[in-house]
Symmetry: C2
Subunit: 302 residues, 2 copies
Amino acid sequence: MLGADGVALDTHASPAGIMHLPAGGFEQAFEETCGAWLDAHPQLPVLAAGMVGSAQGWAEAPYVEAPADADALVAGIVAIETARGATVRIVPGVLERGVLPNVMRGEETQIVGALSSDASLNAEGGVLIGLPGTHAKWAFVQAGRIERFYTFMTGELFGALRDYTILGRTMQQGAAADAAAFERGVDTARDAGHPGVLATIFSTRTLGLTGQLTPAQQPDYLSGLLIGHELRGLTEVLARDQSSLAGRTLRLIGNDTLCDRYRAALARFGCLDAATVANATEQGLCRIAVQAGLVPAPVRAA
Amino acid sequence: MLGADGVALDTHASPAGIMHLPAGGFEQAFEETCGAWLDAHPQLPVLAAGMVGSAQGWAEAPYVEAPADADALVAGIVAIETARGATVRIVPGVLERGVLPNVMRGEETQIVGALSSDASLNAEGGVLIGLPGTHAKWAFVQAGRIERFYTFMTGELFGALRDYTILGRTMQQGAAADAAAFERGVDTARDAGHPGVLATIFSTRTLGLTGQLTPAQQPDYLSGLLIGHELRGLTEVLARDQSSLAGRTLRLIGNDTLCDRYRAALARFGCLDAATVANATEQGLCRIAVQAGLVPAPVRAA
């Protein structure tokens, strides 16, 4: 719940998600999360973003096509009436068509939040925004528009490799983070001449067999390898525009621990200016709510 | 069991493996597989290859270091005495040291078999041999020696992505093979300018979401993508020697269906001469047994 200044007054986290709904479905999950707020403030506008608007969600908010700005997102909002008579508005995701189509749901709202929180990100030339996670996104944003973006299945692949392949068998999980092992993985992925991620990941095992990585170091090494291959893929995309990660200014959105990992990896690629944007989700929801006329512009303390 | 001509007289397949041993362990698995042969022919030499010689195997046959030829493999054979008094000899695997160490166990024997079955493979300039599978190997072989090799976790990764990630959720499994979907995946991986396999695999889902791949086509598309990325990785390795897959003669060792898939993918890279070597394991064991003095050279029908 956000105050008139756009800052969160209260937050409720719920383990429910579209794959893990309570018996009463979306209505029940909504009541459990927001019911007390609406009891206290019946006129509070409700804005939602993310998988709740997918085809498997509460109501489908069809994708808006890239390039997309906050106006396009507002125009794509889908409203539903809940059992208690509240109106829930759902921000649509963004679809980029092409040989490799891409989709996002939720990240578009975070990107709008980042842009509204830092005017320098709207400067000429645009900015690259990374959103690490299960499905990491990298978005090229210019003049307030999400121009194009990529999805890397880095987080989900790490989990699948660790839990369901031979690589997990020699790993010791739950050990303290090992920054050197992580950077070794990043550097291996970054350096040219290797046969790609399908081959380099096997070194997690063979460096163990040959006594060069302890079981406790193998998870961080594999994490570094995968994030390194993600950044190397991004480098190939940037090279098409005669650009690179080295010396670039970019922004990260996500949980602090993961953003720290990405910052360490980016440094190995020569990118030293990659600050994390705080509260991007709240700021994005607030900005979209203002733009949709649901709430007045926030009153910020001078 | 091989005859004096090196051809299999009888074969017993067993579901046992180092991860799935019967209650009596290796001794019991050996008795179930070979006991009847030894009852009938007590003097039959026994030669084994593969994971049976790993640190978790029946007895460890320490890796021989690359470059390695059949003589080096023979010198590394480890012999154990079984409960029934038979001697089981285990062919060692091969280790290649380096920044990304590589190991093989079993494939070295198949490669020796391929070389002994086709004299043209020992020609000046060497040959590239691919062994598709859970952990696909690609070996550069010259003058009878395994010079260097790469491991791609293509098969195991395909299974993990299909069974344990979001990609499996939109797939229809068990459908008839779709060659066009497979080739589309290969071509996508082959074509430059894409951000790498961590990103392209997500298109399995998004091409489905945008109506460009049916659920039944998605497994073959993903398989084509992964094999295509493997061949693209191999292409990068070859490029270091100013070489490529296009126009190259190479050999495949493995099950026929999988080798057919690889042959179709190799054709998209311009490689049209990639015959499968038949009976490579039997021929390799026979050649090593002869070289070790365990059996006389095979008498081949004129």
